[in-house]
Symmetry: C2
Subunit: 178 residues, 2 copies
DNA sequence: TAAAGCATGTAAGAGGTTACATGATTGG
DNA sequence: CCAATCATGTAACCTCTTACATGCTTTA
């Protein structure tokens, strides 16, 4: 998570650690702790994915290297199924760096995961109701309903992205728009 | 997370580890790994929060102890601000075990966190637009909009729960319902 | 000149994961 | 009887957190 977010932000320009953290939390990703940020930067540096382009003693400004670009492409394209929302958000935020086919693959993979989750959620509701003999408590019920609505909204959102991705990809479909 | 989920499920009746895991994933919380489940059970046992009520060599059936009940009450009532969705879900699933005042406190605390997040999200959108001079890319924009809608939906959901909690709590307001 | 904020870092530990090992029980 | 699945467990590791330590720079 930190690795992909760091590389993604550094693709937009060199930054030092403190500023990187500000961007991360400002964007609404999460407020990463320094205790995790600095060791991560050192690790990325040691791996050759980023380099120090200005160490004036005070600030250490990092820039992404070609090796880091490769690593970033690898990370952004490889979806893990039923990925955490936080990680997927970071992926979407940098989705513009992926080629159109890769984007479509990521979005469709996410869609499948969401549909599977919705199915599991509905199944869970049924089993829960059967187990408790329809005495499902108010809060659990409210939670399950909320989750169902949230997943449905997300699927609709993804569908919108997929649709506009498809029209951007296959221009041949745009026959007689009027 | 595992601690509160385990204690909460054991409040409904004794279970062995394997079955506990089934319930956890069946409910849609998450598929906890055995490598985390069994050490956690041993830790809870050592702390005296749960006890083995049937170790027939094969299955080890655990039950919650009075100490575990205390621990559970402590965990369910103590909200951490801007809590992860997963943890809050577990909290809601067991909210019925909290007294009405505690429930209201938890819900209102969550509401505040969501409102704060929405404000941060809007601020982030403005700074991001200012920084990139209105050339915010499609995906980032879609993501920010999606997040805003999701948080708003969650606030509305919480408001519903708070409202019904309030009417259940203060019966004096129910003057002339017809 | 003192406080607030900028900036980097280390150590310990929380809370999970994957991979591996082992054995009992049940169903075809 | 063999495979699947039930059932428990350990070891190594990953990612991130909190708490602490340090020193510089800006501003009131």
């Amino acid at each position: 998570l930190l690795e992909i977010a760091t590389l993604g932000l550094l693709k937009e320009g060199p930054l030092h650690g403190y500023e990187l953290r500000r961007r991360l939390s400002e964007f609404g990703f999460w407020r990463v702790s320094f205790g995790s940020l600095y060791p991560a930067l050192r690790k990325l540096n040691k791996a050759g994915h980023i380099e120090v382009i200005s160490g004036d003693g005070r600030r250490k400004v990092y820039a992404i290297t070609p090796s880091g670009e490769d690593r970033f492409q690898e990370l952004i394209a490889s979806m893990t199924e039923d990925e955490e929302e936080r990680i997927f958000s970071v992926r979407v935020a940098f989705l513009r760096y992926l080629e159109p086919e890769g984007r479509l693959a990521v979005l469709q993979s996410r869609r499948e995961a969401l549909v599977a989750r919705a199915a599991r959620s509905r199944a869970a509701m049924k089993t829960a109701m059967r187990r408790t003999k329809d005495r499902l408590d108010r809060y659990t019920l409210a939670l399950l309903e909320r989750n169902e609505r949230a997943v449905e909204a997300d699927i609709a959102w993804i569908d919108g992205l997929i649709a506009s991705e498809r029209t951007a990809l296959g221009q041949s479909t745009t026959i007689e728009k009027t």
